[in-house]
Structure formats: structure tokens, C-alpha cells
């Protein structure tokens, strides 16, 4: 049988590429709505699995990101239904935050570049703390034990550094916008 002319070399590679390209945005979206790390990671994996299973229905060239967010949203809504009483966001606030998160994704690449720059601008000790804190399985306490400081001290430093990074990224973008 003839091989038809239009089929891409490998749908699986295509999927992997697309998913990895959008993963950060998808994870941000989930984490913002769930905000529990473990649950959010589980949901990210569930979302990835579902997207993979349904990938046959995806039209190459259409909006993968929008589709992925829809699937992620479903997972989050199911999760909320199960957690009935323990929800961190009540419904009205949930909707508003959901909208904001979806919009946030739009400037994502610029913010990523700015973050890289802001990280390199950090004091070496602060940067090291962030690096340690975001290793897999690290907690603020385990990092504190590792560097020989109190948990509370490390917690306060991390808070400060997060705020610093956030504002640095904001300022970078404002400068970019101003320059253009």
C-alpha cells in the first residue's frame, strides 16, 4: 500500500515536543489553581497522559496550549469536586484566578528570559539557596539543615529572594515595554 504523502514522521515526537514546549505554562496554570505542590504535580502528569491519549484528535497547527489548558482545567475541577470541603479558593475567586492565570501565559517567554537575567543578578548565596530549595524533594527545612541555619532564617531569606526575583522580572518587562 502506498504511504500517503501528508503524514508527519512521528506523531509521538511531535506530541513530546509540543508538550515540553508548553509544560511550564500548563504547570503554572495548575499550580495556581490547586496550590498544593504534590497534587499539582500529579495533576500535571494526569494532564500529560490524557493529552497523549487524545492526541489523535489534535489537529497539527492548531492551538495546543488552549487545548492543554482545557484538559488541565477539567482535572482541576474534578479535584475540587472530590475535595469539597478543603478547597482553598471558593468558586467566585476560582474563576477570577483562572482567568488571570490563562492571561498570564501570554507574556511567558519574555518573563522567562527576564528571570534568567534576574537569577544571575542575585547575590551568590541567595542564588545558591534557591538552587538548593528547588531541587527535587528539597524542603525549606532540609535546605536549612544542609546549610547549617535555622529553618526560620532560611524561610525568611527565601521569602525575600522570591519577592526580589518577582519584582526584578516585573521591572525588566516594564523597561522592555518602555524601550519599545
Amino acid at each position: 500500500m502506498d504511504r500517503p504523502d501528508f503524514v508527519p514522521a512521528s506523531r509521538d515526537e511531535e506530541f513530546l515536543r509540543l508538550f515540553l514546549q508548553h509544560e511550564r505554562r500548563i504547570f503554572s496554570f495548575i499550580l495556581g489553581l490547586v496550590p498544593n505542590w504534590n497534587d499539582a504535580e500529579d495533576m500535571l502528569q494526569d494532564t500529560a497522559t490524557t493529552l497523549w491519549e487524545k492526541y489523535d484528535d489534535f489537529e497539527t497547527g492548531t492551538n495546543f496550549h488552549a487545548w492543554a489548558l482545557t484538559v488541565a482545567r477539567y482535572k482541576v475541577l474534578e479535584y475540587r469536586k472530590k475535595k469539597r470541603r478543603d478547597l482553598i479558593f471558593e468558586d467566585g475567586l476560582f474563576e477570577t484566578i483562572s482567568d488571570s492565570l490563562a492571561t498570564q501565559a501570554e507574556k511567558s517567554e519574555l518573563r522567562f528570559d527576564a528571570l534568567r537575567q534576574c537569577l544571575s543578578n542575585l547575590d551568590a548565596k541567595d542564588r545558591e539557596l534557591i538552587r538548593l530549595r528547588y531541587r527535587p524533594d528539597a524542603t525549606t527545612r532540609s535546605v536549612a539543615e544542609g546549610v547549617g541555619r535555622t529553618t526560620n532564617a532560611v524561610y525568611k531569606t527565601l521569602n525575600r529572594v522570591h519577592r526580589q526575583l518577582l519584582l526584578c522580572v516585573r521591572n525588566s518587562l516594564a523597561r522592555e515595554a518602555g524601550a519599545n
Binding site: F27, N36, A48, D56, R73, I97, N159, V169
Partner: protein, 534 residues
């Protein structure tokens, strides 16, 4: 927000980050986020920061390169530089949840890829569960012109995405129960099963009284409602207005610290670009409602039918028409009239079973295939160097391994078999098989599909078309002349006693079936599609 308020928020988020947020902390965080847009924006940026750090680490002890290659199985795949550099991860099958972000996804995907490399990947069938990402369906389209190429037709399932309707009307039924009629020119976005956003243009909304509130985001503010009928407009200068016909609608302008306004029947509000809002006269009557839309659709359907008829008349003047059925008039005679019939002989199709049913428009008729016995028998003896088959098909399901469009009774080389496989591949078999990849997807079930196949004996090519566009082209290695002979539309010959071949009965409708003894060009196929489309 004051400095101390920001400090408090930053701490609450630190607790959240560290999974150490107390019950009262949670309550406080919710309060703060509810009150302040600034706080919400900070929250969203904070989350993105944490997510990014988690996925990519803070590694600047490593060179930051624009592109890195990662080995996947035993292949190398260049990674897009869009999202910046990616750490080279050691991939091992660690337990779920132990590793963060990138590693998890990579493991899952690579594990699957690994399987793919070893075993032939099983064909995925049509989904049997929800969650295909669809949040709404297009239920009515009248004289619509869209900014995109793949214009959403009636029955098309929509995912969360943006649309630009240049002119005409489109009614979208959200799965949450709200019906929104958009009037072009309008730029809108379907957000979820209960939400849309309108950037510019007009819409009329009918929101159900049960379930979650329906939400519309506009440049002026957010509108929420349950159990109401209202209209919205975002004007060319960006002024948002809301007009209420029935029920209650809550409008929250985007301006900081402003409370929501509740509008009742007969009331209307307008929000300008500076986010000033004011009461205005209620103009809901100016927006097209469902009744009016139906009437316009009826009119437009009638006009469409004239277009179909004109094109058909033109085609029937060709000398190569083998058959042309529209299935418009067969109930009494149980004959499908062949409009191309010229000779004295009876070239009509014989209808067995098959119920008449609504076709591509409320005024046209099609034929339904449901029972295993339903079929239309035709007889077209004669060999042809080339052949074109065209049909408007509505599939209710692809139940069988092979679903007949038109199958010749005999199996020999040259006899024509046109069918759709269970996995959505369209096939023309004449001894050699010419099969497409998966072109009929789950979103194509339950809508009118234009299918065509051209067997070009001169140029030695077989081309399959879906909705007027070529989807695959095949070369004919050994040319043979083809014949329809005794054949069935929508089914297959009753096999002889003892023959255990599976049923190929179609489950759906056919509204126009035509055959020509010459190869139609891509332009002619496209014209047929455009001029006979609903």
C-alpha cells in the same frame, strides 16, 4: 496595596510554597486575593515564578545555551529554543511523584515512546469518554463568514479558543447550558463550559437557571449570571454595554474597589475605556434572538438550496455522469431517482429499508441507513478508465470494521469498493487498496461530511478528498479499468450461505451521491463542495 500588606501577602505565599499554610492563613489569603486585583496579579506572578524554578532549577552555575540536545531513547531531538535552555535530565523510571515537573513529564512520555519503539503502537479508537477538551458546540450558523480557514460548521465541537466572525451569526451552546448568539463582526473567545470572553462585537445570551454561573469577560468588566436573558456589546471604541431582558445579571467593572452592580429586567449599563460606568437605556431588542435567528436561517437555507440546484443542473449537462442521486423523493416509489437518467432503461436505485430523513437543510431530504438490511441497490455495468465518486455523508458512528459508502457485490480486481474503516480511514479498493490515514475523527461524527475519491487511470493517480480538500494522493502501479457493476450504497451484498464476512452496513445518512466516468479536478471537487455545502 501598602508595603505591610505586600509583606503579609508575600509571607502567606511563602507558607503556601512550603506547604505550611495554616487554616487561618488560607482564609486570610482568600480574603486578600478577593479584595485586591494587585494581590491577584502578584499571586499569579509568584506562582509562575515557583513553577519555572521548579521545572528548570536555578542553575546558572551551568552555561546558559540557546539550544540543547536531549537524547530520547536512542534518538536525538533538538529542543525548541522558545522556552530557553533545558537541563539535561537523567531519565530513570523513578516512582511517580518523587521527581518534579520536567522529569515527570519526560519520564511518562519517554516510557511511552520506549514502548512505541519496541511494539507497534495500537491504533487508537474513537474516544469513549468525555474530556476531549470540548466545552461547547456550534448549534446554528447563518450566512457566516469567519476570519479563519476552517470555519466552524454546525455540530463542530469547540475547545477553549479564539474566534473572529466577520459577518453573519453563529450560536454556540456551551456545555454548561448557556446559549450565546454571536453577531458578526465579533471577536470572541470560548473560555470554558461556563465562560466566554468578548473582545469586540455583539452577542445575545440565554443562561440557564441551574448550575454554575455563566461568566463573560469583556474589556469593561466581568459579567456573571444565572437564569437570565441579556445582550452585550463591545463597541468599536471599546465601550462595553450590557442590556437585560429577563432575570438578573451581575456586572463587575474592572476598576479597583468597585462593587458589582446587579441589573434587572429592562435595565442596562455601559462601561467605557476609563472604566466609568453609567446606566443607559436598555436596547436588548436590537439584538437578534433565537426566534429571529431561526427565521433568518430558514431564509438562508432556502437560498442555499437554489445554489445547490443551479450547480447540480450544470453538472447534469456533462456527458460523463454515471449516476446522480439526491434522495429527495423516494418514500412512495421506493426508488431513488437517478437525476442523470437519459436512456429508456431504469437506472434508478432500489431502496431497501432506508428511512427518509432530514438532509443538509431542513428542506432537503436524505436517506438513513440504520438496520443491517438498509441499502440502495444500483446497477452500473461497464468498464471505465477513470472514475469519480462524490457523496455527502453524515455518520452516526463507525460501528463496523468497514463501513460501506458504495460496495460492488463482486470481489474481483477492478470492482469498486468505497468505504470507511472503523478507525476513520477512507479506502478505495479495486484489487489494490488506496487508503488514507485517519481523516474521519470523532469531531466529524454527527455532522455533514463531503467525501470524494478520484481514480485517474490516465495520470495513474488516486486522490481522496474530505470537505473539498485533497487529503492523500496515491500512485497506481498497475493500471486497471474499473467497474461498479451490481453494487450497494450504504451496505454490501448479502453473502452466500456459509460466507462469514462481517457486516459493512453504514450507520448514518447519505444526502447526494454521484458518480462520473472521468477524473474530476481538484478545482471541480472544491467547487462541488462549496456550492453544495449546507
Amino acid at each position: 496595596m501598602s508595603d505591610s500588606e505586600f509583606r503579609e501577602l508575600n509571607e502567606l505565599l511563602g507558607d503556601l510554597r512550603d506547604n505550611s499554610l495554616s487554616q487561618s492563613g488560607r482564609g486570610r489569603l482568600e480574603e486578600v486575593l478577593k479584595e485586591s486585583e494587585e494581590a491577584r496579579q502578584y499571586y499569579v506572578e509568584y506562582i509562575e515564578l515557583c513553577a519555572t524554578l521548579a521545572l528548570f532549577g536555578a542553575a546558572s552555575d551551568r552555561e546558559v545555551r540557546p539550544q540543547e540536545r536531549r537524547a530520547i531513547g536512542d534518538r536525538e531531538t533538538p529542543v525548541d529554543s522558545v522556552d530557553g535552555p533545558r537541563p539535561v535530565t537523567h531519565v530513570s523510571l523513578s516512582e511517580r511523584g518523587r521527581r518534579r515537573g520536567l522529569a515527570i513529564a519526560a519520564v511518562a512520555a519517554i516510557a511511552l515512546l520506549g514502548v512505541f519503539l519496541i511494539y507497534p503502537w495500537p491504533e487508537r479508537r474513537f474516544p469513549t469518554v468525555y474530556g476531549d477538551g470540548g466545552v461547547a458546540v456550534v448549534s446554528r450558523v447563518v450566512n457566516a463568514r469567519w476570519a479563519r480557514d476552517d470555519a466552524p460548521a454546525v455540530g463542530r465541537r469547540l475547545r477553549a479558543e479564539r474566534f473572529s466572525l466577520v459577518e453573519g451569526f453563529a450560536r454556540v451552546d456551551l456545555y454548561g447550558g448557556t446559549h450565546v448568539t454571536f453577531e458578526g463582526p465579533v471577536d470572541f473567545q470560548v473560555r470554558s463550559t461556563e465562560g466566554v470572553a468578548i473582545e469586540h462585537g455583539r452577542a445575545r445570551v440565554s443562561a440557564p437557571s441551574t448550575g454554575r454561573p455563566f461568566v463573560v469577560s469583556t474589556p469593561g468588566g466581568t459579567i456573571r449570571s444565572t437564569g437570565s436573558e441579556f445582550a452585550l456589546e463591545v463597541s468599536d471604541v471599546g465601550v462595553t454595554s450590557v442590556h437585560v431582558l429577563g432575570g438578573q445579571v451581575e456586572c463587575t467593572p474592572h476598576s479597583k474597589g468597585v462593587q458589582a452592580t446587579v441589573l434587572k429586567e429592562g435595565e442596562a449599563i455601559s462601561i467605557d475605556l476609563k472604566l466609568n460606568f453609567a446606566r443607559v437605556p436598555c436596547r436588548v431588542d436590537e439584538f437578534v434572538d433565537s426566534e429571529e435567528l431561526e427565521k433568518r436561517w430558514e431564509d438562508s437555507s432556502r437560498a442555499r438550496q437554489e445554489v445547490w440546484r443551479a450547480h447540480r443542473e450544470q453538472l447534469l449537462t456533462r456527458s460523463d455522469v454515471l449516476a446522480y442521486f439526491t434522495f429527495d423523493n423516494q418514500p412512495i416509489s421506493r426508488r431513488a431517482r437517478d437525476l442523470s437518467a437519459r436512456s429508456a432503461g431504469d437506472s434508478n436505485g432500489v431502496v431497501i429499508g432506508c428511512r427518509p430523513i432530514e438532509g443538509r437543510s431542513p428542506h432537503s431530504r436524505a436517506i438513513e441507513f440504520k438496520r443491517a438490511s438498509d441499502r440502495v441497490k444500483i446497477d452500473r455495468p461497464g468498464l471505465h478508465r477513470s472514475l469519480t465518486l462524490v457523496a455527502w455523508v453524515w455518520l452516526d458512528a463507525l460501528d463496523r470494521e468497514f463501513n460501506s459508502l458504495m460496495l460492488s457485490d463482486r470481489d474481483e480486481d477492478g470492482m469498486v469498493h468505497w468505504q470507511i474503516t472503523q478507525n476513520g480511514h477512507v479506502e478505495l479498493a479495486v484489487g489494490e487498496d488506496y487508503t488514507t490515514h485517519r481523516v474521519v475523527r470523532s469531531r466529524d461524527i454527527g455532522r455533514w461530511l463531503h467525501l470524494a475519491v478520484v481514480y485517474d487511470g490516465e495520470r495513474r493517480k488516486v486522490i481522496h478528498y474530505v470537505d473539498g480538500t485533497a487529503v492523500t494522493t496515491h500512485s497506481i502501479e498497475e493500471r486497471i479499468d474499473v467497474e461498479i457493476g451490481d453494487a450497494e450504497i450504504g451496505n454490501w451484498a448479502v453473502p452466500a450461505e456459509g460466507d462469514t464476512r462481517e457486516l459493512r452496513a453504514l450507520n448514518g445518512r447519505i444526502d447526494e451521491f454521484a458518480a462520473f466516468s472521468s477524473p474530476m479536478s481538484a478545482d471541480e471537487i472544491r467547487r462541488h463542495f462549496e456550492l453544495t455545502a449546507p
